[in-house]
């Protein structure tokens, strides 16, 4: 059933990482990405790996969930790695057959790439695994708020995002119901010829659209009744408060980033 699909990948838990200010988490994640991409040597990557794994462990989220986040990318990674191995011809040749040769550099660079991308994906997952989508939206709104001066509709975008998040479960349930109702009238959703199925799809999409418009209309009136008038002068119940923990996390990240950059210069 559609209802069983989990939306977002947030796993509520009690960990240091969960308790960090989402604004800091976003900034730290960006720094982590820079860290993984600066410095081309294995030592740089090793420092980055220590940092990422440490953060994963601190989040107390089962490690296999991180593996799950990379798995869909694996075929792509393997193909790129294999291509890399054959294309790079510098360095000591380890094995040769006709025009195909495998060199030490080729192997190194492939391994390097796989590890780097894996760390990158897993590391970014920490953010979405430990922060609820709504908090994330909120944090993005606040980080981007300086853009309001440039007339960029930051508040409107964030409001749209949070209403979308609010209505996803409602609309999934509704879709489920409409599908059942049309099936009860003999519509074949998952079998039959292509044109037949297309026609049946219409029988689901039209009611879904109409009901979404009706919902939007009613919601707009309800929001008006509660004095909604855009982002101006709004206060918030959700307070994002930074504590010493956030600064410590930020400092640790910066130290690691500096170490990676330094290691890149030295080695």
């Amino acid at each position: 059933m559609l209802k069983d699909i989990t939306i977002g990948q947030y796993f509520p838990m009690n960990s240091v990482i969960h308790s960090l200010d989402p604004r800091f988490k976003i900034v730290i994640t960006l720094l982590m990405i820079i860290m993984l991409f600066s410095g081309g040597s294995m030592i740089c990557l090793a420092i980055g790996a220590v940092y990422t794994v440490m953060a994963m462990l601190l989040s107390r989220i089962p490690l296999k969930l991180f593996w799950k986040s990379v798995r869909p990318l694996m075929p792509f990674l393997v193909i790129t790695a294999v291509l890399n191995i054959f294309i790079i011809r510098s360095g000591d040749t380890l094995w040769k057959w006709k025009f195909i040769s495998i060199t030490e550099d080729g192997l190194n660079s492939s391994a390097f790439m796989i590890i780097r991308i894996t760390l990158l994906v897993m590391g970014s997952s920490i953010l979405t695994y430990t922060t609820s989508p709504i908090t994330l939206t909120d944090a993005i709104e606040r980080l981007l708020s300086p853009l309001k001066k440039l007339k960029f509709p930051v508040h409107e975008l964030a409001m749209m995002m949070s209403i979308a998040l609010r209505f996803i479960p409602t609309l999934i349930e509704e879709t489920d119901k409409i599908i059942s109702a049309q099936k009860a009238r003999g519509a074949e959703i998952d079998s039959g010829s292509l044109s037949h199925r297309a026609k049946n799809l219409v029988s689901i999409l039209v009611p879904l659209f109409i009901s979404s418009f009706r919902r939007a209309d009613e919601l707009a009136t309800a929001m008006e009744c509660r004095c909604y008038h855009g982002g101006e002068g709004r206060t918030r119940l959700r307070q994002l408060r930074s504590s010493y923990k956030d600064y410590i996390a930020l400092i640790i990240t910066i130290v690691f980033l500096a170490a990676v950059i330094a290691a890149g210069r030295i080695f």
Binding site: I134, I163, R166, T221, A222, R226, C227, T235, L237, Q239
Partner: protein, 282 residues
């Protein structure tokens, strides 16, 4: 007591279709509602009752006539937010009026819009949630709640504004009996304990029977305005308009027609039991 709502000669017509025809939905409503009153509005679909409700907090503005709430003219644009704080509204579909994915943030929505400072907002949100009995659910997602619970959250969202009156447009129409009871109990408590004026639009006669005063609308006009026993005892007229009366009221009406000496103004089960007991004792 003071009138909290004064409606004088209210007319309203929807802007016409392509042919420029106008459809008049409200045809001269005069209505005063006293502070602290619990008023039910009855009428079949299309009688204009929802349109009337939307005039009380300026979702719609009169084509002719005047509506004032707590002394504020609804046509006065400069006092719109003051007006909407004073008169909150709860709608039929619980899903389509909840804005946030977290219960307490939804309750805070109006206060956020009004720019209430955090400390005060926190307190008002908690108080509102406690008063509707949903405090334990403050961190839940609305999709985890039952229909009755969602409606209580919507009521809390209005209560948080500290309104003087609440207009509820068929708040129980989509609920099961348990949800209906929860919501009705909550509304009654708001009225009794907080002195909030309630305007309840409903199709359920038992809900109307429990109010202080009932107005019946038909074709854009108020056709009856009285205490519930007096309104419901006019069984013939009610049926003609397409409305129900409580079963016990219908029973005593039928018995009277057959010549029994029984009061026609009976709307509750207990009254009916007493009256029948009396009938058999004499």
């Amino acid at each position: 007591m003071n009138n909290i709502i004064e409606i004088h000669d209210l007319h309203f017509a929807y802007k016409g279709n392509e042919n420029g025809e106008e459809k008049e939905v409200l045809k001269g409503i005069d209505l005063n509602i006293r502070e602290g009153e619990f008023l039910a509005v009855l009428g079949h679909n299309g009688s204009g009752k929802s349109t009337l409700a939307k005039h009380i907090n300026a979702i719609l503005l009169p084509t002719k006539g005047r509506v004032t709430v707590n002394g504020i003219d609804t046509a006065d644009d400069s006092r719109l937010f003051e007006l909407r704080q004073c008169a909150g509204m709860v709608f039929q579909n619980p899903d389509n009026q909840i804005v946030s994915s977290i219960v307490e943030e939804d309750v805070a929505f109006a206060l956020e819009n009004l720019g209430v400072p955090y400390e005060e907002m926190r307190k008002r949100v908690d108080d509102a949630l406690k008063s509707v009995g949903m405090y334990e659910y403050r961190l839940h997602s609305p999709s985890q709640l039952s229909g009755g619970q969602k409606q209580r959250v919507a009521i809390a969202g209005v209560i948080a504004m500290s309104p003087k009156c609440i207009i509820l447009d068929e708040p129980t129409a989509m609920l099961d009996p348990k949800g209906r009871r929860e919501v009705m109990d909550t509304i009654r408590r708001m009225n009794r304990e907080h002195g909030i004026t309630i305007i309840l639009i409903t199709h359920y006669m038992d809900e109307a029977a429990a109010c202080d005063r009932v107005i019946v609308m038909d074709e854009g006009r108020i056709v009856m305005d009285d205490i519930p026993p007096k309104v419901f005892s006019r069984v013939d007229e009610m049926k003609r308009i397409g409305l129900d009366v409580p079963q016990v009221t219908e029973l005593v009406w039928q018995l009277r027609k057959s010549g029994c000496d029984i009061s026609p103004e009976i709307i509750s089960g207990e009254e009916c039991v007493d009256a029948i007991m009396k009938l058999f004792k004499s």
